[in-house]
Symmetry: C2
Subunit: 213 residues, 2 copies
């Protein structure tokens, strides 16, 4: 089952798909998934339009593949690095800081890929919207789980509403990304950093917890 293919032909195909998607996530993070055009990708990468098209089968499938590729990049850049951090308040904080670093470093050239693309598709029913809604829920759950671990560890007050807190944290992160990109300004990130600590401290068992320094 699912033998790791060694067929050179399909390996070559996967390689071009990878190259196409790399370019695609970059374009989409700046101009949106609608601005992805098969012809443009082909020209940029020195491929034929039909070649790119054949690799995905349809425009919508290209968009969905782009979302999946972005999801992987996001997970690697934001979530994976904090698995080192011990569960608890420290990890919750680290997760948020990791997100800020991801936005700040322009892992995607247009800032957060999902901010750009979700705003584009949130009011348009369809497979793309559904995929993005799944990603949003997944990220929300990741934050909630980190907070739940902190509560279990006793570093977060028992009465805390985790969903509300996660909502607030994510709201601050996205606002920082949005304003920083729009105004080409670093201040929003600093504001977000302060507010993050403020929000977590307000819910912490020990307001002087070193994880909130």
């Amino acid at each position: 089952m699912a033998a790791p293919t060694t067929d050179g032909r399909v390996l070559r195909g996967e390689e071009t798909r990878r190259a196409v998607l790399h370019r695609a996530v970059g374009i989409a993070s700046v101009e949106g998934l609608d601005a992805l055009s098969i012809g443009r990708l082909a020209t940029d990468l020195g491929l034929s339009k039909s070649g790119v098209f054949a690799g995905f089968g349809s425009k919508e499938e290209l968009q969905l593949a782009t979302v999946r590729a972005a999801r992987r990049i996001f997970a690697d850049a934001v979530v994976t690095p904090v698995t080192d951090t011990p569960p608890g308040l420290a990890r919750a904080r680290a997760l948020c800081e990791s997100w800020l670093a991801y936005s700040r470093a322009r892992v995607f050239p247009g800032g957060c890929f999902f901010y750009e693309v979700t705003a584009e598709f949130d009011a348009r029913p369809g497979a793309v919207r559904d995929a993005l809604a799944g990603c949003a829920r997944e990220w929300h759950d990741t934050v909630v789980e980190a907070l739940a671990q902190a509560r279990t560890a006793g570093t977060l007050r028992p009465g805390t509403d985790l969903d509300d807190l996660a909502f607030a944290l994510i709201a601050v992160l996205e606002a920082a990304n949005s304003q920083a990109v729009l105004h080409e300004d670093d201040v929003p990130y600093q504001r977000a950093d302060r507010l993050l600590r403020h929000l977590l401290r307000a819910a912490a068992t020990d307001p002087a917890d070193p994880a909130l320094a």
Copy 2:
């Protein structure tokens, strides 16, 4: 100077422009300013493509006019209604509630026009981005001013960082809009309402202020 034109020809022209922009803000709030096409607007409104084009001169000018039209609608729907409320904490709260009502009522069919369109253009330098940055700043300043009045009135603690607080409030509002539209769910609005009160209470001189009931 600036005599209110009575020329029937230009009045007719302004009327069609108005009709076009009404449709345009609706489309843009759902699909973005790039999805505005002159041909589509013409077909939808039973006009000729060249007629619509002539009314604006270029695609970009149409986009800019659409942003201006949306700005007016936003001001009328969100800012104007709260001028009744006496300045102070109550007005700051009312301003936020007014925004939530504006998003909830789908004054623009796709949720907040500026959320959709700012995400689309925030990483694309140009006249449209500049116009949107101006709107964002204007809205931010409106919130800060409401908070400043509250501080002057003594209902907000003197040490409060108004910019940080405004940032947090706006972050919560936008997150509510985003999630509510994406998941077709009312809960984000309720969450935002709770968090708004929480944030304002934390900065209030009197945490039991009736304006935060």
